[in-house]
Symmetry: C2
Subunit: 345 residues, 2 copies
């Protein structure tokens, strides 16, 4: 398997290395060969070659079997003519990664670390399907001396495909989709609601579909997170809501994501950002990145047993308390990764 | 004082009545005369005259000393050609209410009802300044067979005036403003950040200003809500974030808001919506509306003592447990209002 690794900025390189170690261990045990090719993205690419997504990075990603990404961005590039995040947005678009999957399961051993009460977060098991290649992220922008504008556009087809992905996931889960929009204000949201309702009626009538407004959803996700199974939403709302729920499990450092397109390689990255304040100090939690690698095995390579093995090892390590500082532990990134590798063996 | 009352839909009429009772009591005690004139808005107006903001409602609001609003909207008008919310957006725009103030103080007696841990929410004391007359709420919308669009526009002047309002509030509080945007993606956010930074440097250098991205803010507000004093943000982000934090205090039914313009009357409404499921059953919590009336006394009429008196009465009633079902109490809307009136006397 040819895997492109985009370490990126901040703690990105440290966690990317952790994922490679874990995958190499999986390869040894199960007899797979994972070849890793590192390429530049984000601030690291700006520093090296002056652009956030160099042509050869893009070509390598498109030709790979899958892509692992650490993190991009940091205050270092504030006010720079090119922004690190542009590289991330550009690679999402170039690879056609329209569905961003952000699963959240609150581990019983860590529920007590949540800012929410244990009885509210215990047993939470949901997944966000965030549309990732359209909306206000990719609309036309204008700027003049006196004003600025951003355009949010959604086509029927863009909504259909991510809706189908969410309904399909719900079929394998508890059979419920909550679609989030702001249909009382936005035209794109009204289209969103119509299209999701139609795809549901025509193709997935056995799934339970409910609609929620983004503002009340921001409340409900804190008051009763256990009620949700699959949450389907557009790009910006997905960005905000999935970050909001990322605190439920006790640390954002735990959470993986997968970004998938129609076919072609997927991209797998932790939810956490580049965390420049702790970069290079062996402090980052490798779990989010390692679980992203497990998602890669499952979604891109159909290696279910191997993915299960990583997830079981992570669960065991979390239960054992062999964790990084964000979870109250004493291990560094390298030692926490070694604990996961040992648990897999 | 001439007060226009817009009861609106769902529980709106019940809570609007509660506010009038409390104000009448204040008038008796302090020797003011409050004249209330009821007008139609939202779904109630659609049902009665076919439009969500009738001309005479608008004229009455513009001529009033202040406006009290209950709530608008409900599933009854889903799919209706005119939407109840349009009336609310139209009156905000017509009255030029560019600053929406949403204070949140977590009452010590109710902190245990929060979905968050007591030690996280205890002592929270913040206020959101949400821009209310621009952004994606008021931009051009398009719709065709295959796609829809919403335009988000901000002018320099629109950002300046709400930023000034937030900095002025911070001067009277703990001296800190957190401005929230998505400057790594949106052009309007980059303009927002520039203008807020300039107004700060030129006019309020003694205030501490920090910038946060909306996605990480959605996290921080749950992890460390006590760190915030004044939160300044654009219309849509303000809608989402202020609803998110509304759960911190244990019930959204407790929270007031004030919408203010340059001069002219302000509009005061609870944060909660029309709650059609409990409408007409004497179940709604009157506190959010009553505290909105207190904000009216303070901001529009400069009646500080009178506002203090309402707020103290509400605090005493909450502490005594004379509360509605959303707070675990047994009182209805009418009885809970009477408890507040008695406490004022
Ligand atoms: C870095 C930023 C552009 C990005 C986004 O907003 O999509 C990030 O927040 C994310 O969620 O992956
Ligand atoms: C009813 C709706 C249009 C409104 C808004 O989004 O502004 C409401 O959610 C609010 O926050 O006052």
């Amino acid at each position: 398997f040819n895997i492109v690794v985009l370490p990126g900025d901040g703690v990105g390189p440290e966690v990317a290395l952790a994922a490679q170690r874990v995958l190499t261990c999986i390869g040894d045990i199960y007899g797979h060969r994972f070849d890793f090719a590192e390429h530049l993205i984000g601030g690291a690419a700006i520093d090296a070659v002056g652009e956030s997504l160099p042509e050869d990075t893009k070509a390598a990603c498109l030709a790979a079997d899958a892509v692992l990404l650490g993190a991009v961005g940091g205050p270092k590039w504030d006010g720079a003519p090119v922004r690190p995040e542009q590289g991330l947005l550009a690679i999402r678009k170039a690879m056609g990664l329209y569905a961003n999957l952000r699963p959240l399961q609150v581990s019983p051993v860590l529920a007590h670390r949540s800012p929410l009460k244990k009885e509210i977060v215990e047993g939470v098991d949901l997944i966000v399907f965030r549309e990732l290649t359209s909306g206000v992220y990719f609309g036309e922008r204008t700027r003049s001396k006196t004003q600025a504008s951003d355009l949010c556009v959604y086509t029927v087809e863009e909504i259909e495909r991510v809706a189908r992905a969410a309904f399909q996931a719900a079929e394998q889960r508890r059979g419920k989709v909550t679609s989030v929009d702001k249909a009382n204000v936005m035209e794109t949201s009204r289209l969103w609601r119509e299209v999701v309702t139609r795809i549901h009626a025509e193709e997935y009538p056995q799934i339970t579909l409910e609609h929620a407004l983004v503002d009340s959803m921001a409340m409900h996700l804190i008051r009763k997170p256990r009620e949700y199974d699959v949450i389907l939403t557009e790009n910006m709302f997905g960005d905000i809501l999935s970050d909001e729920i990322s605190v439920l499990g006790g640390s954002i450092g735990l959470l993986p994501s997968a970004s998938l397109g129609a076919d072609g390689p997927g991209l797998f990255e932790p939810i956490h950002g580049s965390a420049p304040d702790i970069a290079g100090q062996d402090l980052a939690n490798p779990v989010g990145m390692v679980l992203s690698a497990a998602m890669m095995l499952r979604h891109s390579f159909k290696l279910e047993d191997e993915a299960d093995s990583i997830e079981a090892a992570v669960a065991a390590v979390l239960a054992s308390g062999a964790v990084t500082a964000d979870l109250g532990g004493e291990l560094g990134t390298v030692a926490a990764t070694r604990a996961i590798v040992d648990a897999i063996r």
